[in-house]
């Protein structure tokens, strides 16, 4: 079991900066997801943890010890590749035995461990089958087992479910999660699928363009995104971000979105707003938080998508767009007509219009 610390980690390829100044601590036994779109630097980070890439700067520590100069083969890291990289010219048994043989474990011990892990992973019946041509489900278990059998302190998984049918993905996600529970390793999981990260991870590190944007539990990231990128990336659909202006009338501070309406600000938000230099501000709220019974905001309904238990309403006003997600049993707005709704004050989030950073309240 190992704690991983990434300190000012960076990697450049010539002129291109893949990762810049990343600081992250992954606790012992934690399931940490590195989440972000393609090219955000998540795979680069993981390849450096594994030792496949050498950092351009910064340090990587396992339990306090810097491992940057430790060669790949000696880091004690388990790795599951995106396409599993199973040795297809060998049998399942030989795949499982590979690492043990490479490390000189006596044959008798190898046999015992293979038996134990095969039982655990339900691979007993196919130990002697050639690894080629097996189903993706089995290959995933084999890929994990092949690394797990060496009992590494750290487990790295590089988008292992991206090649799997959507239908299967949920099944395999839960299998993966239960396996992690059983083995108790520190797990780092790279994915671009925010749903995967949200359902599986203890904590999520959201990345974009080589930068770490936010680290937190799924709930934290969902409820209090650090910037507009995280806000829009998390959730399906993501948070609505509207351009607004601050205004003050009587004692009430509010944000007005042109053509849409005005949102009164809670005291906490009012204190947050004092950081702004100008009247412009970005307003965010999640589509699920739309209150049908309320009033205050009006937008034009474009498309109404009914997807079984939920309905997604596409809204627009001028250049501003937003989405609302309503449960199926609620009265639906009519398409091509204006619709009035409200958003509870506590669900409003504000962001700096220039930097996109979330505006946090100073006082409680």
């Amino acid at each position: 079991m190992s704690e991983i610390v990434l300190e000012s980690l960076g990697k450049t390829f010539g002129d291109f900066t893949a990762l810049a100044d990343m600081n992250l601590t992954i606790a012992n036994g934690e399931f940490m997801a590195l989440l972000g779109p393609s090219g955000c630097g998540k795979s680069t980070t993981m390849n450096m943890i594994a030792g496949m890439l050498r950092p351009s700067c910064g340090a990587i520590r396992f339990n306090g010890q810097d491992v940057v100069d430790v060669p790949m083969a000696k880091r004690g890291v388990g790795f599951v590749f995106q396409n599993y990289a199973i040795f297809t010219h060998m049998s399942v048994r030989e795949n499982l035995a590979y690492g043990l043989r490479a490390q000189g474990v006596p044959t008798a011990d190898i046999k015992k461990r293979i038996q134990a892990f095969a039982e655990l992973l339900q691979l007993e019946s196919m130990l002697n089958r050639r690894a080629a041509g097996l189903s993706v489900n089995i290959l995933q278990r084999l890929a994990i087992g092949r690394s797990a059998i060496l009992e590494p302190a750290i487990f790295l998984l590089d988008e292992p479910l991206s090649n799997v049918d959507a239908a299967f993905r949920a099944v395999m996600r839960s299998e993966l999660k239960s396996l992690q529970g059983q083995f108790g390793q520190t797990m780092v999981y790279v994915t671009h699928d925010q749903l995967e990260a949200m359902t599986m991870a203890d904590r999520i590190a959201v990345m974009d363009h080589g930068k770490l944007l936010q680290v937190g539990t799924p709930l934290e990231i969902y409820n209090n995104p650090a910037d507009t990128f995280v806000a829009k990336f998390i959730g399906a659909p993501g948070m609505n971000i509207l351009q607004g202006r601050l205004s003050q009338s009587a004692d009430v501070a509010s944000v007005g979105v042109p053509g849409v309406g005005s949102i009164p600000l809670s005291p906490a938000l009012q204190s947050a707003v004092r950081q702004l230099t100008g009247p412009e501000v970005q307003v965010g709220f999640r589509p699920e938080q739309v209150n049908v019974a309320g009033a205050g905001l009006t937008m034009h309904v474009g498309l109404v998508e009914r997807i079984g238990a939920r309905t997604i309403v596409h809204l627009e006003r001028g250049e501003t767009t937003a989405k609302a997600v309503l449960p199926a049993d609620v009265a639906l707005p009519k398409a091509q007509s204006d619709w009035t709704f409200a958003v509870p004050q506590e669900d409003i989030r504000l962001f700096d219009p220039k930097s996109g950073q979330a505006l946090k309240a100073r006082t409680h």
Binding site: F79, A85, A102
Partner: protein, 312 residues
């Protein structure tokens, strides 16, 4: 050929290609088929015919009257007892047994060195390929000169000894064979290198990475992952080289003419001599047919095995 038209309605298009194209396809393959037939059918029949006679162009009669010198299967029984033939066969197989493994190991070693990227790789790669592009007859002359008693090979060896080395390579029966093998290894190792490198590059990178992460050393990876996955390519490379070396002629003949004596006489050289110098063409036909039959059987076996190998 211009009367083949595809003026079919669009709806029929998916099936049309096979039907309308079949005729054009037949015409297209016709020239090749004719050439193959020409070179395969008549020669075989002719050889079968002649091999059963005692004909030679010196006899003054045209070949189709060779039946006047009918001797049945005598040529074949003579062949079995022909010690010079078996000597040539043995020599050919010996050369094969030495040169092919050497070329394979050298080629494999070079391929290992060329798998990574390094500075100057492309230029060095091109220069390594040059020997196999040298016209074999010219290579024969080159090595003939190199192995002269006053030549560069001896000069090079003289660096390591006190007295100047003046070995007459091509006049010594054993050394001549060695010289010939050196020439073949020089010329054809690049071919092995070329093919094996192509095969080595195609071994999946991620499987090798996975092996490293599981703690495998370079040697273990090489023998458990790289080589096994190169199996079919290795077989192809070896097969090509074995086939070609069986036919060895140009370089060798110009270097030694098959000599001294018969010291470097391989199958092709022997057949050539009987053909051009002793002119017993009926006997040569028998030899040729015997070889053809044996090689056909072997190749059918090999191809069947390869096809089975591809299905698994």
């Amino acid at each position: 050929m211009t009367n083949v038209s595809t003026m079919t309605p669009v709806a029929d298009q998916p099936e049309a290609p096979a039907k309308s194209g079949a005729r054009l396809g037949l015409w297209l393959t016709l020239p090749a088929q004719l050439l193959v037939l020409f070179i395969a059918l008549f020669p075989i029949l002719m050889q079968v015919y002649i091999s059963l006679t005692d004909w030679s162009p010196l006899d003054g009669i045209p070949w189709w009257r060779a039946h006047e010198l009918w001797i049945g299967l005598l040529n074949y029984s003579d062949l079995i007892a022909d010690s010079r033939f078996w000597g040539a066969m043995w020599r050919t197989l010996f050369v094969m047994a030495v040169c092919v493994p050497v070329q394979f190991l050298l080629g494999l070693g070079l391929a290992v060195l060329f798998v990574d990227d390094f500075r100057g790789k492309r230029v060095l790669y091109s220069t390594l390929l040059v020997p196999m592009m040298v016209v074999p007859a010219v290579a024969g002359y080159m090595f003939f000169m190199l192995f002269q008693s006053g030549g560069p090979v001896n000069d090079l060896l003289s660096i390591f000894t006190s007295d100047p080395v003046r070995i007459a390579w091509l006049s010594d029966p054993d050394l001549a064979l060695i010289a010939v093998m050196v020439a073949d290894i020089w010329q054809w190792t690049p071919l092995m290198f070329l093919i094996l490198l192509a095969g080595m590059i195609s071994v999946p990178q991620d499987q090798q990475m996975a092996a490293i992460l599981l703690g495998a050393s370079w040697w273990r990876r090489f023998f458990t992952i790289v080589l096994p996955r190169m199996k079919s390519i290795i077989i192809i490379a070896l097969a090509i080289r074995v086939i070609e070396i069986f036919k060895i002629f140009d370089t060798l003949f110009i270097m030694t003419g098959g000599g001294p004596g018969v010291a470097t006489e391989t199958i092709s050289v022997y057949i050539y001599k009987v053909t051009q110098q002793e002119l017993i063409w009926s006997y040569v036909a028998a030899i040729a047919l015997a070889i053809l039959i044996v090689l056909s059987v072997v190749s059918v076996f090999a191809i069947k095995r390869m096809q089975r190998g591809q299905e698994t």
